[in-house]
Point group: C2
């Protein structure tokens, strides 16, 4: 919405800090997504599921490495850049620990999907290297087909699974929104960058609403693909 | 010792089965190494350690993918090829669950080192694609420096750590040898391939002894690098 912001010299400074924050946030999100997905892979009872989840974890780690390399190139220490987001992201994962590998698979699928939509949203607000990087991350293919096939098969084998997983997916989204809000409250520049806020702080609430609508609509389509009514 | 074996037509058949068994064994070993290392990465308290362990897990998964692809190319189903080795390898991991991330790091370092020495041993007994594959796996760089630096720092901070970790490393090797023997007893052709046995079964016990000596000597050198007397 506000791609012009970076041409304003004041906004460029704000934007610069916000971009660093965004990269730190995404780096820690990808790192923990990799680790939590790998833990679910280890717990999965079936080698095929283990391999599919491990493959997702490896892709997520690749994203982390790209984001960390970009931070280093911009003169930042990745660990320091990630630190402000550790509490919120760890809280998200601690509050959404899957009870079984099927919940783990849905979490990985839903999380990867929302992450990709989010990358697509912010890409339009970035310039230069950061934008190229985000587009590269987006170019990676997910393991969608495997998740869709496996969840649908599980529902076919036991239809009661559908209700439980639909509820689970709703909880995942709810917790993600809650933790995003904690981050947004503390990080005005970052929030402005993400939702296309006005120069000098204060985000565009209408644009935030539109973005959340787009993200939840895409999420609902993914739920339908899984055979879950959301 | 017995690189000629594959030129004997009878041995070529035996060797062919043994190579498939070897690839299945290595594939499952790499897959579980990846998953268990990733679990330790998730448990590590420090982002630097998490990233280093995750990087090792990703390398291990890459090896798994190469081995599985080779099995597919040879007309095999990777899951079926791995199945005979699940019990022994799972038993190894269940009997060597690290108590903390430092034991996890030592396990990953020691396991990776022994695996690489083992690949080097068997490479000389393989032909064609299988040999190329094993050499490719070997070409991957490990994360040795990180492990050495981190373990040495931990010992410097608390010298009592050295004795505990040395004992731990000894247990790892003991369990690995025990599980290898279970596998060898049931898989005569595979054992023959690995230790360079005579055509038609029965391994060369003297060569087995020499190989174990080489592997344990290399292990002792790695322990010294970590600052652990073994």
């Amino acid at each position: 919405m506000n791609a012009e912001t970076s041409k304003d010299p004041v906004a460029a400074v704000i934007g610069g800090d916000a971009v660093l924050e965004l990269l730190g946030l995404l780096a820690y999100a990808e790192l923990t997504a990799c680790l939590r997905t790998a833990v679910e892979a280890d717990r999965a009872p079936d080698t095929g599921v283990q391999v599919a989840l491990a493959r997702m974890a490896v892709v997520e780690f690749g994203h982390y490495e790209q984001l960390a390399a970009q931070l280093v190139e911009m003169g930042q220490d990745p660990e320091s850049s990630m630190r402000p987001f550790v509490a919120a992201i760890d809280a998200f994962h601690d509050r959404t620990t899957p009870r079984d590998w099927l919940e783990g698979l849905v979490k990985a699928f839903v999380g990867d999907g929302i992450a990709r939509d989010f990358y697509r949203e912010v890409a339009t607000r970035l310039d230069g290297h950061a934008r190229t990087l985000v587009e590269q991350v987006l170019a990676d293919e997910g393991q969608d087909d495997f998740a869709v096939r496996t969840v649908r098969a599980a529902i076919e084998a036991d239809p009661s699974v559908a209700g439980r997983l639909a509820l689970w997916a709703r909880r995942l989204v709810g917790e993600a929104i809650a933790q995003s809000q904690y981050v947004a409250v503390e990080r005005d520049a970052l929030a402005s960058l993400i939702v296309g806020g006005q120069t000098g702080g204060g985000w565009d609430l209408a644009e935030l609403g539109r973005m959340l609508t787009r993200l939840t609509e895409a999420h609902a389509r993914r739920m339908q693909r899984l055979g879950l009514t959301d």
